[in-house]
């Protein structure tokens, strides 16, 4: 079983921090613009602050375990994904059902030379996040090749 790039820890943390920031902005905005004259307003604002805090802690601690748990593998017949910290998911996609494979790369991902790969089937899509660029594009090519051969 192969692992994803170790940088993924950093990426997940950055993601988490961004979401924390968004929630904090909402909470602060509510704090300023709401007049605190009813109970539900207190509850609303406090819960958004709480949520931001939980996401912050989550984004600082969890990426390490997420990285440790994420495994993927592929061969002629299937793609296997294994992930999840508390609830472990084990996904098997038969190669003959794969329709196409996407890769995407944002600005931050580009800087760290990472790539996100998405496998599409008729039943849904599965993402393998944060692969090293070369590994990712090689994987994409080899999956595409196998799919093509299977279909002929």
């Amino acid at each position: 079983m192969k692992r994803i790039s170790p940088y993924s820890r950093k990426m997940w943390t950055i993601d988490g921090l961004t979401i924390t920031g968004v929630f904090l902005i909402i909470a602060v905005a509510l704090n300023i613009f709401l007049e605190f004259n009813a109970l539900w307003k207190y509850i609303l604002t406090c819960s958004i602050y709480g949520l931001a805090l939980i996401i912050l802690i989550n984004s600082l601690i969890m990426p390490k375990y997420k990285y440790e748990k994420f495994r993927y593998d592929m061969d002629e017949d299937k793609i296997i994904l294994k992930y999840g910290v508390f609830t472990e998911k084990n996904v098997v996609i038969p190669m003959s059902r794969v329709q196409y494979v996407d890769t995407e790369q944002g600005i931050i991902l580009k800087k760290y030379k990472l790539i996100n790969l998405t496998v599409h089937t008729a039943g849904g899509e599965y993402e393998i996040p944060y692969l090293e660029s070369e590994v990712g594009s090689n994987l994409q090519l080899s999956i595409a090749k196998i799919v093509q051969e299977k279909n002929i």
Binding site: T87, E88, V91, T121
Partner: protein
């Protein structure tokens, strides 16, 4: 050589009728607000009438032009259609891409001997790719050409096979009655009527209410506490009865003479009282079959059968019912006659007993929290704890209904939400398999199995929990 034809003239009437139906209320409001503002000396009300007549005339001309410009033609490999007034749309649909072709006709359409032919392909949005009005004979002809083009076989052979394979299944009126009686629609109807009953107080004008009060006032004075309960019970019964009648009427109208015919490569459904619907579903588009056993219906030995297809236009995202209700013996016969491909025997593997205690305890924990909240905030809310034994029994039933089976060609899954569902999936249709387990389950080698099949927009997934880990690994091994 392309031979172009116009669709049936009925489209002019139906178009105009549709337009009037949709625009009459806004038009009315518009006219009322405008009409009174035109001074008498400029013609007053006559202007309004003139405007309406002109407007209608324009609409009629528009629809006639639309009909004139709308042509279709059958080519060797596909159907060609052209429509539009200012902007011309042309479309050619290859026969091989047509997944379903529905013929439907409402009661008015039947008077004119007209049908609506709708063709669907796998992709695309909710609308049918092609929908045209044709005379009945023409529609049947087009349909037969499409599906003949679809099969690459000798025509003679096909015809012989069709005659031999005319397997039919019709549900009787009595079955429909049973179905209506136990459908959830009754409860929905009950709530709607109840809501209406309470709303009626606000709707009725005051004078009527006063009159009614003087009549009923004497009666109400005579009513004491016990008879009020009787009064309410009677009211509830009456409402239930009304919603039952409505439910029966709706069901009978919708599923009247529900007939399933097996043809060579497809199943044909036809049903409906006013709106006669005909649906053709090719066998190889069927993704899964779901046998539904409702709680009450099952006690009477009734089942219904749904199938999941892709590219089926009418109820996108919804599964298609191919057998509204039937007794067990009939169901077996149904499988033999109509769907011999899916007629398999299975021996389900049950959930592992090791998981039972934890499952019930965990469920109870969640339920307990919810119930505690209710008990605190609702007066007399602590009576809700009486539900605990019922919930435990219910959870036990749910747990023991879980089952999984896997042969070389099929995966069978059984689970219960409210009704017990048995899902039969062909191996080729499985898009992916997931094994899900949390840390507690991992220690006991128990896992949840999720099978995902293709759907129109999103895939459909079926889940069976608390199975032995090894067995799921087996299934994964076999699906590849």
């Amino acid at each position: 050589m392309r031979e172009l034809k116009h669709p049936h003239k009925f489209i002019i009437f139906s178009g105009i009728f549709q337009f009037i139906k949709n625009s009459i209320i806004p038009l009315f409001i518009f006219l009322i607000s405008i009409g009174s503002k035109i001074p008498e000396k400029y013609g007053g009300n006559y202007t309004v009438i003139l405007a309406i007549v002109l407007f209608l005339f324009a609409i009629i001309v528009l629809y006639i032009v639309k009909w004139k410009k709308n042509v279709y033609g059958l080519e060797e490999r596909g159907i060609y259609i052209k429509h539009g007034i200012f902007e011309m749309h042309e479309r050619t649909l290859p026969f091989s891409q047509v997944h379903t072709a529905d013929i439907s006709s409402s009661i008015v359409q039947r008077l004119f001997n007209v049908c609506k032919l709708e063709m669907d392909t796998a992709g695309g949005d909710g609308k049918s790719e092609i929908s045209i009005f044709l005379s009945k004979e023409e529609a049947l002809r087009v349909k037969s050409i499409i599906f003949k083009g679809n099969r690459n076989k000798d025509e003679d052979e096909v015809e012989i096979m069709e005659e031999k394979n005319m397997k039919k299944f019709t549900s009787s009126l009595k079955d429909l009655f049973v179905m209506a009686t136990f459908s959830t629609r009754i409860l929905a109807g009950f709530f709607i009527i109840t809501a209406f009953y309470f709303k009626i107080d606000n709707i009725i004008p005051d004078e009527v209410k006063k009159k009614a009060e003087t009549v009923t006032g004497d009666m109400v004075n005579g009513i004491n506490d016990t008879s009020i309960i009787k009064y309410i019970v009677a009211l509830v019964l009456i409402m239930l009865f009304i919603s039952w009648i409505i439910s029966v009427i709706i069901t009978v109208i919708k599923y009247y003479r529900f007939t399933v015919i097996r043809e060579e490569e497809s199943i044909k459904l036809s049903y409906g009282f006013f709106d006669k619907k005909e649906v053709t579903i090719p066998i190889n588009r069927i993704q899964s079959i779901i046998i539904v056993e409702g709680i009450i219906k099952k006690q009477l030995g009734y089942f219904s059968l749904n199938i999941e297809t892709i590219g089926y236009g009418k109820d996108k995202g919804e599964s298609t019912m191919i057998c509204p209700i039937a007794k067990k013996e009939l169901l077996d016969k149904f499988f033999e006659d109509i769907l011999p491909e899916m007629n398999i025997t299975y021996d389900l593997v049950k959930s592992s007993r090791k998981a039972l205690k934890r499952f019930i305890l965990f469920r109870l924990l969640v339920e307990f929290i919810v119930m505690s909240i209710i008990a605190i905030f609702v007066p007399y809310g602590y009576y809700i704890f009486l539900l605990v034994p019922i919930l435990v029994i219910w959870d036990y039933i749910r747990f023991s209904d879980n089952g999984l089976y896997c042969s070389d060609d099929f995966v069978v899954m059984r689970y219960r939400n409210l009704a017990r569902k048995t899902v039969i999936v062909q191996k080729e249709c499985i898009q992916s398999v997931e094994k899900i387990q949390n840390i507690f389950q991992k220690r006991r080698a128990i896992a949840k199995c999720e099978v995902i099949i293709a759907g129109d927009i999103l895939g459909k997934s079926y889940t069976v929990g608390h199975m032995n880990e090894n067995y799921i690994d087996d299934i994964i091994e076999k699906t590849l």
